[in-house]
Symmetry: C2
Subunit: 405 residues, 2 copies
Amino acid sequence: MNNAIYAQSGGVTSVINASAYGVMSELSKLAPNTNIFAAQNGILGLIEGKIYDLRKTKKPLELLLDSPAGMFGSCRFKLPEIENLKFYEDLFKILDSSSIRYFFYNGGNDSADTCLKVSLAAKKLGYDLCAIAIPKTIDNDLVVTDNCPGFGSVAKYIATSVKEAALDLKSMCKTSTNIFVLEVMGRHAGWIAASAELANAKDSTYVHKILLPEINLDEENFLTGVESDISQYGFCVIVASEGLKDQTGAFYSESTTQDSFGHKQLGGVAPKITDLVSRNLKVKYHWAVSDYLQRSARHLVSRTDMEQAIAVGKIAAEFALNGKSGVMPAIRRVSNDPYSWEIVEGNLTNIANKEKILPFNYISEGGFRINEEGTQYLRPLIQGESFPKFKDGLPIYEQLDLHLL
Amino acid sequence: MNNAIYAQSGGVTSVINASAYGVMSELSKLAPNTNIFAAQNGILGLIEGKIYDLRKTKKPLELLLDSPAGMFGSCRFKLPEIENLKFYEDLFKILDSSSIRYFFYNGGNDSADTCLKVSLAAKKLGYDLCAIAIPKTIDNDLVVTDNCPGFGSVAKYIATSVKEAALDLKSMCKTSTNIFVLEVMGRHAGWIAASAELANAKDSTYVHKILLPEINLDEENFLTGVESDISQYGFCVIVASEGLKDQTGAFYSESTTQDSFGHKQLGGVAPKITDLVSRNLKVKYHWAVSDYLQRSARHLVSRTDMEQAIAVGKIAAEFALNGKSGVMPAIRRVSNDPYSWEIVEGNLTNIANKEKILPFNYISEGGFRINEEGTQYLRPLIQGESFPKFKDGLPIYEQLDLHLL
């Protein structure tokens, strides 16, 4: 009996459960005798023996396609080095007690590290295990894969939201607000901030400044640009990454400023950028921080993202059934227009703990916008809609009934 | 020749343009010889003679149904008292030069004041004018009307977003984040914050604490409650109104933040509440501020809200054609379940400058939640979806071609 376990790790996305569905539906199809388990809260559930037995689940697994965030719970947890054999012996005892030979770990670069360690330790200890990582991160910062499931939906959410907010600002700028700052996620890589560029079109500019972690903020240049935008358009929309850095390379939101009462100022990049602009240009402002809203917005996922999230799950199942370990399904872009892609095999030794920042050739001259090459990369990822089912005015997001082993 | 002018005022909504469509389509149907104009940036466009002539617009007016914010521009501008006859004489000269006899002003309580002044001044000066206000405000704080077009869509957006974010938090709470704070609009009335309660269901709690402007924050009680939520659920979702007040009745966020003009600026309740909780309970946190995103989210409007926004526009046109002035179409709730409503006539003298806060009988004992009576009021307003058209991954939001007179 070869059984399988699936687990979710790191920050969740609006389509991570679709990858779970991909794995589980493909296993059921190709290896119907395989029992499928899911760890509660990622690798922690395995360590603590908190494992859901999906044979006991009465509701249909299709519900996974319709609910954001991690149905089985996630965790942020770093495994010990594989020299710590005792730890891994204990882990494999737990796996062996349920005849688990397939291990699927759905996460980002830290999670690829976890999966790689499990794979290497299994080989070292002679435990028969296929450990497969499944890519997932809104940050889009995994190497080897062209893009990461989860990112396309955030990109769609940010581009849509900023387009809407820009129309709002445009309505109000005559007598009221002139700048709007939206803070988005992406602590080390500017992919999410860059996606705001998709709101722009040839004949209409909705987003005027994009502040990326890849470009240390030159406040003077920035302010000159904002002033010019306001005089040209009457308003200026700024999208700022939470990972924006100052001229010294330190996080912009971390440098200490004090308010008029001498308190250290609270809040993130958006209020700080707003403060910078309003102090210097004396304009009225609004700011928003999308935070969790952007990465859990199942109501606005990209159908392309949804399809890729399912596909990496399915191929992960195939990899495991073919006896592979220490690998990850990676998305390879075949062409931009029409967009086509395929799934290839990526080796976790090339993926774990590595980070892909926004390439400089995607950033426009001046550093405050994304160029045509960048939007050509980004645009296919937000194509298509996949609305959830609504009931009584709200998305249903029905949760599976989960029962521990 | 009796012509008509329409203008938008105050903070915009995701369905205010639908009211414009209601007015214009009904006028075209019932009085096809009436020329329809729209003021650029509300009453300011009238004062400055910046008036769009919709006969010159080539694109179909149906585009108004699909685009958020104010297609014609809005303003925040207080008219002088009607004793200032010279001002109104000048205003009516501008109207008269285009034979304008119907004036439609689409806004909240300040805008009702504007419309009332125009109506009274016209009577006083013997200018033949039907001045009709059309209700619009996400704040839902107009009196006489049961609810305000614009609010239902924000309520739907907030309830959906907080449900999504709660699922995210639930996934992460084992090893990472335990509290999430979402700041929402509503400076004086807690309607928007209250709508978060709609995310909750009998068997699942997604929103644990709602902080309303109507209830001065008792920090100790609040912290005890949050601690209890975390121990019961593992996490706590808090929705806070920007208008939250401290025990002295001062704005909670105002104590330390001033804008560039030295005015106290609202916004920043979320980081302050987060700071309060994390300092006292030592838990990890995330916070979001939805700001403009909530009121411009055309991609998630309530179909009920959309229908009512169109209806008040149409009835406003009928009021004008029937020679009424100084009135506003108001929504009257006929029944809760099944929800039914009708449009009645409200007198602007009862509406202008008045404010309807959240009734205390909608607030649960303890002050941190909304009770059954409150949700029975709120729930009908978010029913139904009305997705915009998408192209290339994004809502189209095509703008009308507008040409000045």
